[in-house]
Each structure stands twice: as C-alpha cells, then as structure tokens.
Amino acid sequence: MALLDIRNLSARVEGRQILKDLSLSLNAGEVHAIMGPNGSGKSTLASVLAGRSEYEVTAGTVVFQGADLLAMQPEERARAGVFLAFQYPVEIPGVNSTYFLRAALNECRKSRGEPELAPMEFLKLVKAKSKILELDPALLNRPVNEGFSGGEKKRNEIFQMAVLEPRLAILDETDSGLDIDALQAVAAGVNKLRRPDNAALVITHYQRLLNYIVPDFVHVLVDGRIVLSGGKELALTLEARGYDWVTDQTAAVADVKS
C-alpha cells in the first residue's frame, strides 16, 4: 500500500481553481520532487495536504497510511505523521521555541500511545538533533522564529522535522531565499533523516536543491496538473530547457489528442 495516495484531487482558493485532477502516489522510502513554474499549484498542494482551511477541496481523495487525510484537522494530520516545512515560517512572538516544540512532540507522542517526554529528556533530544542540523541552540531560547534570519528559519523547520520524525515530510520551497551554505546544511539535514519507513515530497522551483536532495521521482506540475513524471534526470532537463519546454510539449500532446 502506498504511504500517500492522492487521486484526482481538485482544489480552489478564493474562488480560483488551482489543482485540477491531480494524482500522485508515494511509497515509504521514496523522495519525490514536484517542480513547476510559478503559479502552477505547488504550494497549494502542500497547503491542501497540511490542512489549511482557506483551501477548498472540490474533488478527489487523499489517503495517508490507509486513512482519509482530508477528513482530519491540521493537528491530527501532524500527529499521524505529516509534516509541512513552511515556505515562509511565521514568527510567533511570545511563544518560546523549546516550549512550543516540546508541546508539539508530546502531542504527537500521546497520539501514538507513547509517554510524554519530561523537560530534561526533551532537552537531551533537542541537543542531539540540533547537532544534526548545525542549528545554534541559542535560537531555541527565543520565541518561535522571531528575529531568525531566512536561513535560520528554514534550518529551524528541518530541525523541527528531525524532532518530530514524521512519516511524510513536505518541503515547500525550502530552498527559496537560501545561500549555498544554508542550502547544503538544510539538504544534509534532510538526507540524514531519510529512512526506509518515511518519505518526502520536495517542492521546488529550481533544480539546485535536487543536487543535494536526490529524488527518486520528479513530477512536473503545470496549471494544477502533473504533466510529466520521470527520474532525477528530468530535473536536469528542465533546468537546461526551462518550463516553456514542458508547456510546449504538453500543448503538442494535447493537440495530437484533440
């Protein structure tokens, strides 16, 4: 059984239809990349999977580990093992990072029937995980993302992922706004977290990130549909020829069909 099975998904926001009959299936142990031009629906897909309420699903199903993902609240999805690394992590003044993350982890543990972690145990875990991400531990004494640089925010997303150990990680343009050092650090973190029992959906506009997080499959999203799928080499072709090449190709295919 696939870990995540998206079938004929259509979704709209503010009255605009963004996703149109999208189907995609991920197995445990796989990394899938979703590429596509601006406005093609990449971030909408991430938002719909995470459960953002502004996005309305108009058709289709999403089954995650055998359960109906779309019927779950955002927190239930997280507890079931879905993690969204935000494109623009929000700053939350007044909410301490460590306190927040411990509360989050304990909610996830509770839902799996595991005991909550006491503060000392949690700090040990945090110490170990922050090493993987080379994250300055001082950041964790600050309010969530407050005053973090762009790179620190993205690193913090992957750090949270390391602590929460999701089954499915969705990285929404995690590479945007990162310099090459930060990009490498973030990618290295993601790679260290790869396991046979989890999967990742890496959403990106550029091929650059995929040099470091090597995907098993690459899908090209155009106008709310997956128009092309292939192996990791597809990313390189796209980088060389641009998205216009895909658009032209699919237009040609559509012409032939009609």
Binding site: E75, L84, P89
Partner: protein, 461 residues
C-alpha cells in the same frame, strides 16, 4: 492579524451593553446627595485637623463635579450605571475572622512583608509588618495618622490632589484606612511589600474607600504589590487611591492586580510624583469586576526621570475594563514607556486613553505609548485613543494602537506541528499577555497570572 488603527478615530462606536439579566428594567440609581449621606460618618473620625480640612474641601469638590456621565469626555465610553445601581453603604467590619489558612492562596506564596485589609479594615493578626526602626516602614494608614507620621501632611492627598477626578475626591473625603509604606533614603529594600485587600462581599453594595501612600526616599529601592480580591460574588464597590512619592534617584516597582468578582465595581487611581532621576515601573493587571476603571498618572517633577507603565486587561462577558493614563513631562530629559495590552471576549468592552503632556521646557523628552488589543469574539468592543499635547520642540514621542483578532497564520503553524486548536489558542493568548506579564519582577505573581490565563481561556473564550 492585527490592523493598524487610525489613532484619530475611535475603533468602534461605543455600545452600551447591559448585562442580559439586568436588561429588562431600569433600576433606581443613587444620586451624589444619597452617596454623601450614606458615607457621612464612615471612617472620617479622629483625624488630624489638616486632613479634616482637606476632606471638607474634597467633599465640596465632589458635590460640585457630580457623578460623571457618558457626555463627560473622560467617561465617554464608561457608563457608571453598574455602580449607581448598587445600594451603596460603608462596608462593615467583617463578621467572621479570616484565618491565615484562608488567605494563604491569596499570597501566591510570595515572601513579603504583608498588610492585609478585610473590607477596608486593617487586620493586624493576618499581617506581617517589618520590625520597627528598620529601613522600611509599613503600617496601616490609621495607625500612622494616630501616630502623627511626618510624611502624611506633606504628601497624603497632595499627589492625587486633582479633584477633577470625582472618585478620588470621594476617596479623600471618605477613606477609612490603607497603607503607609516608607523606604528610607539610600536603602534597597529586599523584601517586597504586599498590600492585600480582601472584600468578603458579604452583602450587596458594601463599599470600601482605600487610600495608600508610598514614599520612596532619595536613592531607595522598593517593590510594592497591591492585590484586590473578593471572597464571594455579591456586587461590592472598591474605590482605591494610591499615591507614590519618588525621591531623587529612587526606584519603585509597583504592581497592582485587580481580581475582584465579576459583579463588583472597582475604581482606582494610582498617581506618582517623580523627583530627579527616579525610576517608576507600574504593572497593572485587571481581570475582575463588572466595571473596572483605572487612572494611572505620573508627574515628572525633576529631570531625567523614567517611568514604565505596563498594563494588561482581560474582559469577558459584559465586563468593562478602562485604563486612563496621564504622563506629565513637566521637566526635561525624562522618558516614559507605556505598554497596555487588552484581551477581550464575549461582549466585553475595553477602553484605553493615554494622555501625554510635554511641557514647554521639557526638552529631550522621550515618550512612547503602545496599546494592543486582541479580540476573541465578534461582539467585543475596544475604544482606544492616544492624546498627545506637546509644547516643546526637541522631543521624541511615538504612539500606536492596534486592534485585531488572533493571527490565523500563527495558529495554523502551531496546529501543523500537532498542537490542538484549544492549546494553540491558549499559547497565543499567553504570548500576547507575556509582553506585560514577563516584566513583572515577582516570580510567584507571574506564575499566578500565567496560571490564571490558562484557566481563564481553557474553554471557549
């Protein structure tokens, strides 16, 4: 998401909200003459001649000014109907003696020198006073008046002498007791002083006029905590005035927590006069009372003074919480920082009015004012208004006000990590309050307030 508010406009039209239970019929209300008759002989006995004179003058002033109505600019959004509907009468000495065990939960476990007042009456056996002859004097005002404490004639009723504030005038006329706290010059007082005011609220309309005077000698340091609680839910009235005199370079942290029952009326005036280089921090938290009005004022009477005014008001249901602040930059090179945060739910009403005067020779003034409001319901109302009157030309003055709902993006972020909606909301509420709460220098008080915030917003707000 918070929206910036045009400070020249009120945020919403005022809505006069009556408690649904009271809505069906108007009740008779008390006139000023009835009020004066009810309190004529309460607590005004056995005072020195100078105070008698000031009482007479204050009474005359109260009669002249009369009770405020909503056509009075200072009370435009704050109808005092809940007060005037009460059968007001002087609170009687408590029939039942409280025990140390009963008041223990009201002390937050704070190690402090403590003066306990029950229904406005000083309660010596529950209090722990500092040893006489030390750097700190803390006694009941009545004892101090009887003993002829030298600070009284110089300062009492002099700091809060602006009798345009009719409730302050009434307090001057009728106060029975309160505390006198004096920190000796040059001394840093390690133990905080806790003034605990308990209303047993045994009967509807019991009223206590409480008066405190805090004198911090030049170069002294002292922390004062004033708390107000009710032990039952009968509507009662507290009219409290605290005067603070800060000598040159003195540092005072003053923390006032109002947690009276939700039918009470609490009217408070906290006024400071700051000498050169003094540093006053006021923390004021208001969670109780049906109608709570707080006047907080300081006068910079010497150069280079600093005041930090923090405030947090929580109002729900038909509660009204009102903060009126006045910072008078009468001297050059003083700094004032105001941070007032309101959290409103149900059909609660919040009012903030912040006045800053910068007098003509108060050059190099630095004045900041900030009022933020978090609305948890569609029916809550806030009226916020800054009022800056600047007559000097080399000054920095800023002000800002926001009224908004909970940040949906932040809420989603917390939920996306597995935190449930209710817990996420609570985290956000606490975060909003923490700007104010975290500045309070007494850890047990912070812990109490954090616990209170959690309890208060546990269920649907």
């Amino acid at each position: 998401m918070t929206a910036a508010v045009d400070p020249s406009k009120d945020v919403a039209a005022p809505a006069l909200r009556a408690d649904p239970a009271d809505a069906h019929q108007p009740r008779p209300t008390m006139s000023m003459a009835q009020m004066l008759a009810a309190f004529r002989d309460a607590g005004t006995d056995a005072v020195p001649g100078w105070l008698k004179q000031r009482r007479v003058a204050a009474l005359a002033r109260a009669v002249e000014v009369g009770f405020p109505t909503t056509s009075d600019e200072e009370w435009r959004f704050t109808p005092i109907t809940p007060l005037l509907e009460l059968p007001l009468h002087p609170a009687q000495p408590p029939a039942h003696r409280l025990t140390a065990g009963e008041i223990a939960p009201l002390t937050f476990g704070l190690e402090a020198c403590r003066l306990v007042f029950v229904d406005g009456y000083f309660c010596g056996e529950l209090s722990s006073l500092p040893a006489p002859g030390g750097d700190l004097r803390a006694v009941s005002l009545r004892a101090a008046l009887a003993g002829g404490a030298p600070e009284l004639e110089a300062h009492l009723t002099r700091v809060a002498g602006d009798e345009a504030l009719v409730f302050t005038a009434l307090n001057t006329a009728f106060f029975r007791d309160g505390a006198l706290v004096v920190a000796a010059p040059g001394k840093a007082i390690a133990q905080p002083v806790h003034l605990l005011f308990i209303a047993t609220a045994g009967e509807t309309g019991a009223a206590a006029h409480v008066r405190n005077l805090i004198v911090a000698g030049a170069g002294s340091e002292v922390k004062i905590l004033e708390t107000y609680v009710s032990l039952s839910d009968a509507p009662h009235f507290t009219n409290t005035v605290t005067e603070l005199v800060l000598g040159a370079e003195a540092r005072v942290e003053h923390c006032k927590i109002q947690e009276e029952n939700h039918r009470a009326v609490h009217i408070a005036d906290v006024q400071a006069r700051q000498d050169r280089g003094s540093h006053w921090t006021s923390h004021s938290v208001s969670t109780g009372a049906k109608l709570a009005r707080h006047q907080i004022q300081t006068l910079f009477d010497g150069e280079a003074g600093v005041c930090i005014l923090n405030g947090l008001y929580l109002a729900r249901g038909g509660q009204l919480a009102d903060y009126h602040t006045v910072v008078d930059h009468a001297k050059p090179r003083c700094e004032s920082h105001e941070f007032y945060h309101g959290i409103l739910s149900g059909n609660a009403h919040g009012v903030f009015n912040g006045k800053i005067f910068v007098r003509q020779d108060a050059q190099k003034t630095n004045a900041k004012q900030n009022n933020r409001n978090l609305l948890l319901s569609d029916d809550a109302v806030v009226n916020t208004k800054p009022q800056l009157e600047i007559f000097a030309d080399d000054v920095k003055c800023t002000h800002g006000a926001t009224v908004g709902q909970m940040d949906g993006e932040a809420l989603f972020y917390l939920r996306s990590r597995g935190i449930g909606l209710e817990q996420a909301r609570q985290m956000m509420i606490r975060a909003f309050a923490s700007d104010v709460v975290d500045r309070i220098p007494l850890e047990p008080v912070r812990a109490h307030l954090n616990h209170k915030l959690t309890e208060r917003f546990k269920d649907k707000p």
